[in-house]
Structures are given as structure tokens and as C-alpha cells.
Symmetry: C2
Subunit: 525 residues, 2 copies
């Protein structure tokens, strides 16, 4: 089997009729075959039409059938074997082991949504029984559950070519909810996308799912993405990427005659707060943990800890010295794309030239193109508070340490921050009171708050929140990782006075799906 450069529109593998993209191996700069011609407006429309047609049948499939479908996608992704990983390495410059791990995570994610579907909590079934004798008016029988929103446009992310791309978290949660998916592949890894797309297509066929439940498009510029989000048959959008990209999609979605929800995970600097007792007790260990988290994967994570806040003093000096030592040893790593490398180099250069910022460490220089040389900067709280530009995300392994004169300035920094995906606290028992004073602020700023851990590494589970207030995401009420992500693609419908024979299965009197319903105000055991 070889890569073809074809899009997948429903059951058809077809060449795009628009401008072609080609992947680049960022480790060498080599251009990779084949070419991936982008979708024409008619091809985008065709994918959306098929998705809409598939929606009728797909949303009526049983949770068990969709669970089997997700499990089958996982199997088919695994069956791609080394070809997938080799292409992903070539297209992203990410290490083999990381991509093998990411494939495991992607398949586990699909299977987690399968389990979630079978458990049925996501249907949120509520029943208020009829009270025909009630005065002054009888109460009718009322039942509520969640139904699928409609076809979803999913945008592949540059930094997770598997776990947040063609069969990643957005696709898995949308398919779980009963929504067909049209994926716009990320320009940086079309080959990886084609492999995974073909795996999904095989699962569609094996599970006899309706044609159009999945399509995969390429596109060079913004046209395909904007056309997709503007198509009236698309009812929601999942996106992980830059702030400007996310905001452009939000704008397109709002400009439609019928606006639709956009779940865009956009930018964060993921502040880390070091409290005095912890910093005093273990500045070296903290420095080691910080640099490891900061430089992991060349810092190309949404949850990369780009900002560290602590009070001035000997302990912080020791931390900075240790972090400097660690970071200077850190090897250069290939970044995902030449564009990402250029943006990193330019942002780091601007920060280094900033009058109020001091560079304290640089990692090992690179020996090839697109190599990320890690960077560590220090500034003062006053300077940070005075210049909003200092909290702009730098995508890559660059950290800024903010030195504060006291707890009051630490708090001022916390209050000054934009919305974040995560906020991290390192503390000992003696720091509890100080942490308790800061937590209410952080809870309003971030989707996830960590104690004595590092924000990179996002667990796929029920309790995860990978989200947060604007501009971390466009919708703080949601998460894009974890089982609650399914809720993004659902809406409630109430059925009043229905005969049992016409009710959706989940709502029938006999509770055939054996759900724990909210029945007359009580949760069923």
C-alpha cells in the first residue's frame, strides 16, 4: 500500500481540484511525496451533503453500534502498523517513541468513548412522570435526553498528528455523540492524515455505517476551512491551533445565517506558581521538573508551562541557577514545521530584545534545520504587569520566570493573567494558607489546576478538563479531552405526553438501556 494524495469524500477516494500541499520533513527540509491537491468548493459541499445525508441514519444508530464503530476505528489504526508511524515521524520530526505512544493514546481515546457510550450517562435521561390529578392543572409526562447536533467540522492539530487529528479526540467525541465528521487535515501532515483516514473509512465499511459519516479534505489556505465552517449542513466545529486561526473560525461561524458553536482550543502559557516553602525545600528538584516539562516535545504542547511565578530571594535564585544548568544541557529538537520554527525564533528574538527581560539560559544549538533551542528568560513582576505582550504564547520551549516582591505581587500576576488551560502550584504544607488565598483566582482563570505536578501530559478520563476561559478556548463551558468532551456535540430534547411506542429507546417506560435516570427528582440506583 502506498499513499495516493487522495481525499476521502464519503466512500470515494478522489483527488482534490484545488491547490496542492506537500508535507515537508522538518528534520531535513526535504519535500515529501505525494502531492495533496486541496478540495474545491464543490468537493467541500459534496462532503457536507454526504455528512448531512448520513446524519439521519447515523444519529439513530444505537450507542452500542457506535461504540463498536469506535473500537473498530482503533483496531484499523493499529492495523496500519509501522507505515503510519514512519510517515508521522517524517512529517512532524517527532521521535518514534513519542508517536508510538501517541498512537496508543489515540486508540485508547477511541475505546474510552466507546465505553462512555455503553455506560449511557451522556444521555442525561430525566423523567418527570405524569400527575393527572394535580391541581390546578395536571402535569403531563415529560422526558428529556440528549441528541446529536449534526455534522461536525474537525480541524487537525499540528502538534498531535494522531491524538488530535483525523481520528483524534474531536472526531472520537463527535462520532460518539452521533455526529458525522468532516475532517480538514492539517497541512503539515497530510500523509499521516491519509493513512488514518483510510483506517476510518475501513471501519465505516466494516461496521456498515452510512456513507458520509466520515470525510477527509485537504486544503492549502484558509478557503477549505472557511467553506466548511460556513456550510449550512455543518452544525459544530472542533479546532485545536492558534489564536488567530481559532478566532477566524469563530467569526465565520457567527457570520452564518444560523450561527453554530465553535470549540476552539487556542492559546495558553500555563502559569506555574512556586510557593515559598516548597521552593525553599526543593528548588533543584523543581528546576529539574520544570525544565523537563518545558522542553518535552520541543515545548510544542498546549499545556507547556511557559510562565513561572515566584517570590524573589535565595531560593528562587537557586531555582534559576539549577534551571539554567538543566536547560543549557537540553538538546535541540526538531520542530513540527518550518513555519512553527520561524515563529518560535522570531518570538524568542523579540523577547530577548525586550528591555525588561533578561535571557538566563539557552539550550544546545541545533545541527540541522528547524531545531528548537530551548530558552529561559527572567523578568520582574512590575514589567510583566505593565506589558500585556509578555503574556503572549510562544509555541515552543521558551519559559519566562517572573520574580515578585511578595505574595501581593504573586496575586496581582494571577489576577492579571488571561484565561488559561492550566495553572500549577508547587507547595508544601506550610504553603497551604497562601495557596488557599490564590486558588479562587486560579479557578476562574484555568480549566485545570494542578498541585505538585506539571501540566504537560493530559489524561483521557472522566474528570479531565482540557479547556478554560477565553482565550485558552472559545467556550469555557467545555473540555476537548476526556469523556465530558462528548457533551459539546449534544443538545437536550424534551418529549411531552408521548406514547411509549413513539419514544426514543433511552426514554421508554421499561428503561431498556438500564440507565440511571433522574426519575421524579431522584437518581435511580
Amino acid at each position: 500500500m502506498t499513499l495516493t494524495g487522495n481525499m476521502l469524500i464519503g466512500r470515494q477516494a478522489v483527488a482534490g481540484r484545488g491547490t496542492a500541499i506537500r508535507a515537508i520533513d522538518p528534520a531535513t527540509g526535504a519535500v515529501l511525496e505525494p502531492a495533496y491537491p486541496g478540495g474545491s468548493p464543490a468537493q467541500v459541499e459534496q462532503a457536507c451533503t454526504l455528512a448531512w445525508e448520513a446524519f439521519t441514519a447515523y444519529r439513530e444508530t444505537s450507542p452500542a453500534a457506535r461504540a463498536a464503530f469506535l473500537d473498530t476505528i482503533a483496531e484499523e489504526v493499529e492495523a496500519l502498523g509501522d507505515a503510519l508511524i514512519e510517515r508521522a515521524v517524517a512529517e512532524t520530526g517527532l521521535p518514534l517513541a513519542r508517536l508510538q505512544g501517541e498512537r496508543g493514546r489515540t486508540c485508547q481515546q477511541l475505546r474510552t468513548f466507546a465505553r462512555t457510550l455503553r455506560a449511557g450517562e451522556w444521555l442525561d435521561v430525566r423523567v418527570d412522570s405524569a400527575q393527572p390529578q394535580r391541581q390546578p392543572l395536571p402535569r403531563p409526562d415529560l422526558r428529556q435526553h440528549q441528541v446529536a447536533l449534526g455534522p461536525v467540522a474537525v480541524f487537525g492539530a499540528s502538534n498531535f498528528p494522531l491524538a488530535f487529528s483525523v481520528a483524534g479526540g474531536d472526531t472520537a467525541s463527535a462520532l460518539a455523540a452521533g455526529c458525522p465528521v468532516v475532517v480538514k487535515a492539517h497541512v503539515a501532515h497530510p500523509g499521516t492524515s491519509e493513512w488514518v483516514g483510510r483506517a476510518v473509512a475501513r471501519a465505516v465499511e466494516r461496521c456498515a455505517m452510512p456513507e458520509g459519516v466520515f470525510s477527509l479534505l485537504y486544503g492549502a489556505g484558509h478557503e477549505v476551512g472557511i467553506a466548511l465552517v460556513s456550510d449550512p449542513r455543518i452544525k459544530a466545529v472542533g479546532f485545536t491551533g492558534s489564536r488567530s486561526g481559532g478566532l477566524a473560525l469563530c467569526q465565520a461561524a457567527q457570520a452564518r445565517p444560523e450561527p453554530i458553536p465553535v470549540y476552539a482550543e487556542m492559546s495558553a502559557i500555563n502559569p506555574v506558581f512556586l510557593f515559598p516553602a516548597a521552593l525553599h525545600a526543593r528548588s533543584e528538584a523543581l528546576a529539574e521538573g520544570f525544565v523537563a516539562s518545558l522542553t518535552q516535545g520541543a515545548g510544542q504542547f498546549c499545556t507547556n508551562p511557559g510562565l513561572l511565578i515566584a517570590q524573589r530571594g535565595e531560593a528562587l535564585d537557586a531555582f534559576i541557577a539549577a534551571a539554567t544548568g538543566q536547560l543549557e544541557k537540553s538538546p535541540a529538537q526538531t520542530m513540527l514545521t518550518p513555519g512553527i520554527f520561524d515563529a518560535f525564533a522570531s518570538s524568542v528574538g523579540a523577547l530577548a530584545r525586550h528591555a525588561k527581560v533578561r535571557r538566563v539560559a539557552s539550550g544546545q544549538p541545533g545541527d540541522g534545520p528547524n531545531r528548537c533551542q530551548a530558552q529561559l528568560f527572567v523578568t520582574e513582576a512590575d514589567a510583566f504587569l505593565a506589558d500585556p505582550a509578555l503574556q503572549a504564547e510562544i509555541f515552543g520551549a521558551a519559559g519566562l520566570i517572573v520574580q515578585c516582591r511578595g505574595a501581593g505581587q504573586v496575586r496581582a500576576i494571577a489576577e492579571h493573567l488571561e484565561g488559561q488551560l492550566t495553572a500549577t502550584l508547587h507547595l508544601d504544607e506550610a504553603d497551604h494558607d497562601a495557596a488557599r488565598a490564590l486558588l479562587p483566582t486560579l479557578e476562574l482563570k484555568a480549566g485545570r489546576v494542578l498541585v505538585n505536578g506539571w501540566p504537560t501530559g493530559v489524561e483521557v478520563c472522566d474528570a479531565m478538563v482540557h479547556g478554560g476561559p477565553f482565550p485558552a478556548t472559545s467556550d469555557a463551558r467545555s473540555t476537548s479531552v476526556g469523556t465530558a468532551a462528548i457533551q459539546r456535540f449534544l443538545r437536550p430534547v424534551c418529549y411531552q405526553g408521548f406514547p411509549d411506542a413513539l419514544l426514543p429507546t433511552a426514554l421508554r417506560q421499561g428503561n431498556p438501556l438500564q440507565l440511571r435516570r433522574l426519575l421524579d427528582g431522584q437518581r435511580e440506583a
Copy 2:
């Protein structure tokens, strides 16, 4: 006690510094005292500042404390006695009994949210326990619950001066969620708003809630509302009203540096489908039910059944004849405001002049100003499908019957409809197959689907959905009536690796609130 014309900004009763409004008794046209000067930009800002300051303490109050607060608001509203109802009658032209009923509903709604708070399901607690031995990486302890979004701007609705105004559903659900509320009173009933506002203020004092948890503003034009929605301290908006008003608020909310969610319940014509067997069996009873629902409260309900769809034939002719007879007997009723009456008269006039629409009945003429004379029109499916203007909402007792040539046209109408709050089916057992074919379409169009009932009368309960796809609302994922309405003002936060002492109460190891948590994938009994 008399009305003062004062706004309530936190603990202060203050006169507005902007243009004044005065209520008009729509039954007589008389202008009512006192004048209600509108808020100045500085006063709007002051209310928002106080709300933000209150948020810190208010969101940390226990669910039990907020429940007691809501119960106290209900008590204080009841303690207003006849003065409230008399003023509401004068300001709205609504009958005494209706307003007494609406007061009961309003207080029941507050108490329902109090019960919901105590039950704790709304916190959606999820716990994934640490797995320190897991390979290749240990799993940290992860816990999730819901936290309040922040201060909420609530806009009073013209047609529910009590149940969807100052202490109505939006206010009750926002306060339940832990969000301070700044209410912009509807211009049509400032006196009713002042009475209820004072009741809420007394409850704030009795329950020792922080100042600023509630403020009440007046305003003549759009300025106060737009200023409120644009204020950076406001984090969500609840609105019930016109499509143009709702869309203007959505636009203002999206134009902010930090966009915020708007829950606008805007417009619907609430289609009713009469199936052949039911229509044949009981055309007269259906006609009676339809006209009763259409004319109730002069048709001034969001869920008023403004559209009726059925197949042509003798049974429909009999239905139309019976409905005509019923409607012609229906007495004229005072509408809420001169503006609403003028809009109704103008829309009805335009429909009567429409080349493809036939007026079949008019209700009794009025004997004073602003009297709604009910109207019934008939058109053909082809005409309805050809002219989108025919599905514009007419706020008031005006119904349009669409005659179809067969089941295919009925389905075409259903597919042609915009998003709706409700869709209603009247059917007998012989109609089940036909209904089953239509239900998937209706489920995508409406928030609530009814069988053999009428859409007016919206139960406040767990299973209710008063919402629906655009343009029925600006956010189909939510409901503005029923206990699920609290979810609009919440967002999830995840706590990773927290020592028990720093966790929010709901998430502590010992489960002190005795919640049924989702613990390691299983719902606790």
C-alpha cells in the same frame, strides 16, 4: 409603602441619571407614576463592579446557603401581597388570576432551584483516583466539578413580568449557580420590577449575602443593555424577547475582547401537526384545544401555536369550520404594551393582504386601546414553502393553517421550518407510522416535542426543555426553563493532585456533601 422610581445598585436605592421611562396601563392608555430614570454609564459600571466584588464571596457560599437565599426570595415576593399583583395588572393588562398564578409559578421556580441546589447533581462531580503503579506512567488523582461563570446580566421579559423578569427563571438559575445578577428591567413594567427588586434586596439582607449579588437597573433605549453586556465583569447573559433584541445582544457579546455566552430565547411559531386519524376522529375537540391555546393570554407566549399543518380534506375542512366558530367567539384581550399591539396589528394586516393567504376568522373586536382581536388564516403548502416571510413570528393570537396535499408536503413543511421551541403532534394509534417518519425531523427542529397536548404551559421540572435550534434560541444546547437551566451559568474545573485540605468541599475524599459521584467510571449508588 410606595414605589419610588429608584434603581437598586447593591444596597443603595438610587435614582437613575439617564432618560426616564414610565409605565403605561395598556388597558386604558394611562401613564403610570412614578417615573423611572434610567441608569447612566457610571451607574451600570457601579452595578457591575459590585457584582464582581460580590462574586468572590457569593460563589463560595454553600449550596445550602444559596438554597436558603432562593427560598427567602420566594417568601419576600409572597410578602409583597396585593400591591405587587395590582401594579402588575396595571402595567401589563394581564388578568388578575393569571398574575396570581404567575406569582405562584415564580416562587415555585425559586424553590425548585433551591431543591436542585440541595440535591447537588448540578455539580457533576467526577473523580478519577490516582494509580501510582500504572505503567508506563502513573495516573495522578483527578477531580472535576462545576463552578460559577461570573456575574450574569438578566433582561426582563415583557410577557412574564414575574416568572421571567427580576426574580424569574434566569435570575433564579444564575443565583443558584453562584453568579451575582444585574437585572435590566423591562421598560413595560418598571413598577412590578421595583417591587420584586425590593423583595430580592430584603432577601439579600436577611441572608447576609454580599452586597452586589443583586442589582436592578432601568433604561429607556438600548444603551443600558448594551453597556451591561459589554462590561468586562459580566460573564453571561440571559434574555427572553424579540429576535432583533436577542441578536443585538449576541453581537455585543461577541464584539467584546472576551466574548461571553448569551442565552437568548427569541422567536418561534411552534408548529402543530394534525395527523389524519386524529383529525378524522376529533376535529372539533382539536379545534377547541387549538383556539384555546392560540388565544390564551392574547397569544403572548413564546410557545403560542402560530402554525398548524394538516392534509387537505373533509376532516381539515371540519376542523377549520370549528376553529373559525370558536375563534369568532373569542373576546378581545388587552395586549402587554402599545408597541406590541401595533406590531401585532401591522403583522396581521400584512398577512391579510398576502396574495396567497386567506383570512378565515377574526375574534371579537375590542372596546378600548391595545385590544388583540384574534385572527385565523389559511394558506397552501406551496405558498408556505415559497415564502419565508410566512414563517415569521407574529407575537399575539394569530394562527396560520397550512393545507398540504399529502404526507410528503407535510414532511416538506417540517423540513422547511426554522428552529422552534416546540413542535406538537396530534395523533391516534393509526397515525403512529406517519408520526414516526416525521419525528426525526422535528427532533432536529425543536427543543420540545409534544404528543396530544398544546405547547402553551411550560412545566418547571427536571425534564423540561424551553430552548431549541436557532432562531428559537441563540444556544440550542441549553434550556431557560427547568432545573437544567442552571447549567448555562457553570463551567467545569479539574483539580489534579490536590491535597484533601485544598480541595473544594464537593470534591473531598470523604464526600461530605454525600453526592452520587462518577467515581472511577462508576456512578455511586
